[in-house]
Assembly symmetry: C2
Homo-oligomer: 463 residues x 2
């Protein structure tokens, strides 16, 4: 990518500069509401945070509705007065936060926003109130500076992201027509590094299993039976060992068949990202990394599927020695998936492999516990190009394409149900403590984020 | 083996027949004492059982002493009036018993001996009061019928066998000179099957380890890190898988080097034992057995070393799915050893193998938790030959040689400290419930046991 970097429209820039303190003040007010969705003691606070979002959207002239769900409500704001031919964009964010405990590990109180060293510290500062608010602030900039918006906007703020978003997919299904749009924009993730704006290209999916191996009908004395009976713990270890070849590549037949390679250009760009492998190893206190040969660490994390053991249990695990030959053994095993793998096919492949690898003398079961589809962004087209230009405007350099090894289920829900491209542009940073004490967002990123999103509406408008 | 079967001396046979009821009555009195060594509430009962043994030996004219230990006392009886040139034999047994709980599962009360279907049911009936008493009864037969014994006898009865015999090895060390003997005879084990008298040829030793694998310095998110970090659970599984080859033979280099093969004649005899593999599988509810190729199931259990997993623990083992890449993993692994393997050399071999099998990116430790030496009987010589003849006299057929996959530490203590051959001839039977409710000894075996031991003293006397 090489691009001309456009400056932000001067009226928007002037308004954002002149109102910087007030935009901080409003965010701080939002952050002071302890809207912990996981804790029923905070139910009223969660409702108060929904009301806060509702009020701010309504004040901007959005048609706003707070819609009940079986859990916490969804706040839906709509503004559909853009010029004919303008696209409709759905902005998604969440107004609930993680619990703040352990409170004693916070340098300043979790729900009293405090600026230190250019960072705003508070629960929800980056996940996701700060990032939701910078979208609303960008909208206000347009409306205040110009009296209008260049695109139609739907803002959807939910209150259950931190407890699994159980009610969101049904909500999107139910309101599918109303939510119809040309793009979904989500800011709930991080940039690669300070000063490097980033567009998220992919999320890995998940296929999570429990494997149970059953041998003799009870635990046996390892002296009286050892050496003649198939040991379920040994059998399980041999099954797990068969999941990878000697080099670390997954050896389950057919596992990679559905993998769609990333475009060479994206891989080439990922290879150029300033990733410090020594530092990564030092952080984890390991002397070597592992995984599939032929890929960089970032490629392994962002673009390649895995098969990892999440848990093991068999026999005696207490202190000292007990001479037991276990009757059963159990492993939790999960595969991270990349497009176009899917959880159900993966389950079939893993189960067939486990059955083939299990020796006579034991029986095995493979139970699917959890699954999620992988996602890959559209890395070309008008939405992506507009985002690249808008981020360049705000950060003074073109964005990089990054990946994410984990999953964000709502991304798939939006893409699947609304059949619109989803753009993930986040303004968090590594080390932001999203789910830990001392959560923070960089003040600079908060400011650049408002400008990037303000620019995005202009960049998405028909020329 | 083919031998002429000698009848029991008629005077001994007559006395044992005439006193059968009284010998039962005395045993029942002994069994009514709830000498549970594990339970301090029974401390006085344990002392009462020691007194009972003391009194019965003293009554026979034994120089008898009850010697305190840090735990329960040892009763030591000596009779050294045999003709010049007669050997001295040490008889070992224990007067303590396992707890009887759960009491509600006993058909008749645990401490009220009851005969049903030719079996004597009571806690301690077979383990070991019944078998200790049949030795004392055989002594009484000689002294009553003939006024003398053909060998010098030491009877050593301990009260801590069911709690680990912690004080016995120091006791033997301390009284080594007094306990000097030509043979140790122990009846605290089982015969191969009803009607088949058995001499125990071997006990397996033990080398028990805990293996700890450490990877990253904390549990990681399996999405954010999976595929690039060496997973300690997977690494452990691969290490365990490397312990055996594809056929089930232990693949730790050097593992079998010290194994001294059993004599072909003993192996040939073991192969002829009526062992029902189908029934064995049915009891365990498995469709196939495992272990080292080239050996029968009994040979695997009695004559070959093993490497078994006793426990596995890593990561998340609760209900459902948790996407964790564990920071550590742990296995309990133990090797059963056969002569001339030893625990310390085995530890060295296992540790070297584990270190070689561990991938870069994790560190491993191997901690030795417990060890015990294997034991093999002298299967020829005057003691063995005398036992074979005596068992044939009592059971009407020559004995078979059997093994035992577990360990009985006191056997090694006697052999090691006194440097005398140890003869294990037991009169229990499979299914005797030694440590379970409804423990029993066959009345027929009790009677034949008294006769076998009475014959043994004659067979051990110089001709």
């Amino acid at each position: 990518m090489t691009m001309t970097i456009n400056p932000l429209d001067s009226a928007l820039e002037a308004w954002l500069s002149n109102n910087d303190q007030r935009l901080h003040d409003d965010l701080f007010e939002f952050l002071r509401i302890p809207s912990v969705s996981a804790n029923s003691a905070h139910k009223a606070d969660v409702a108060r945070a929904a009301d806060w979002v509702h009020a701010h959207l309504a004040r901007l002239g959005f048609t706003t509705e707070t819609i009940a769900t079986p859990g916490h409500p969804v706040v839906l704001g709509e503004w559909r007065k853009a010029p004919k031919g303008a696209p409709t964009v759905l902005v998604y964010g969440h107004y609930d936060v993680q619990p703040a405990e352990p409170l004693e590990l916070w340098t300043s109180p979790a729900f009293e926003p405090t600026i230190r060293d250019g960072n705003i510290y508070a629960r929800g500062s980056v996940d996701d109130k700060g990032q939701l608010w910078l979208h609303i602030a960008a909208i206000e900039a347009h409306l205040a500076a110009r009296g209008t918006l260049p695109v139609n906007l739907i803002v959807l703020a939910e209150g259950e992201e931190e407890v699994g978003s159980d009610n969101l997919a049904p909500f999107i299904e139910q309101h599918r027509a109303r939510l119809q749009c040309e793009a979904v924009v989500i800011s709930d993730s991080t940039m690669f590094a300070p000063g490097i704006p980033s567009i998220l290209s992919s999320l890995r999916g998940l296929a999570y299993f429990e494997i149970n191996v059953t041998g003799p009908n009870s635990d046996l004395h390892s002296g009286m039976y050892g050496g003649a009976v198939v040991n379920p713990a040994t059998a399980l270890a041999r099954i797990i060992a068969s999941f990878h070849d000697a080099n670390g590549k997954v050896a389950i037949p057919g596992f990679y068949d559905a993998v769609r390679p990333f475009p060479d250009a994206v891989r080439a760009q990922m290879k150029q990202l300033p990733f410090d492998e020594l530092d990564f190893k030092k952080q984890l206190a390991v002397d070597a990394l592992g995984g599939e040969p032929g890929y960089t660490t970032l490629e392994k994390l962002w673009t390649r599927p895995t098969c990892e053991v999440n848990g093991l249990l068999s026999g005696y695990t207490g202190e000292g020695a007990k001479t037991v030959l276990p009757g059963t053994s159990m492993a939790k095993v999960s595969c991270r998936l990349v497009p176009d793998q899917d959880p159900e096919t993966t389950r079939t492949l893993v189960e067939a492999h486990v059955r083939a690898a299990a020796p006579a003398g034991v029986t095995v079961t493979v139970t699917a516990l959890h699954g999620g589809h992988p996602w890959r962004a559209e890395l070309e087209g008008p939405v992506f190009d507009a985002a690249a230009r808008a981020l360049a405007t705000a950060f003074g350099r073109e964005p990089v394409i990054i990946g994410e090894g984990g999953s964000i289920p709502v991304v798939n829900d939006f893409a699947r149900i609304l059949k619109a491209p989803v753009l993930l542009v986040g303004f968090g940073l590594p080390g932001e403590n999203a789910h830990a004490p001392d959560e923070w967002i960089s003040q600079d990123n908060f400011r650049r984020g408002m400008r990037a999103i303000a620019a995005l509406w202009d960049e998405m408008a028909p020329k």
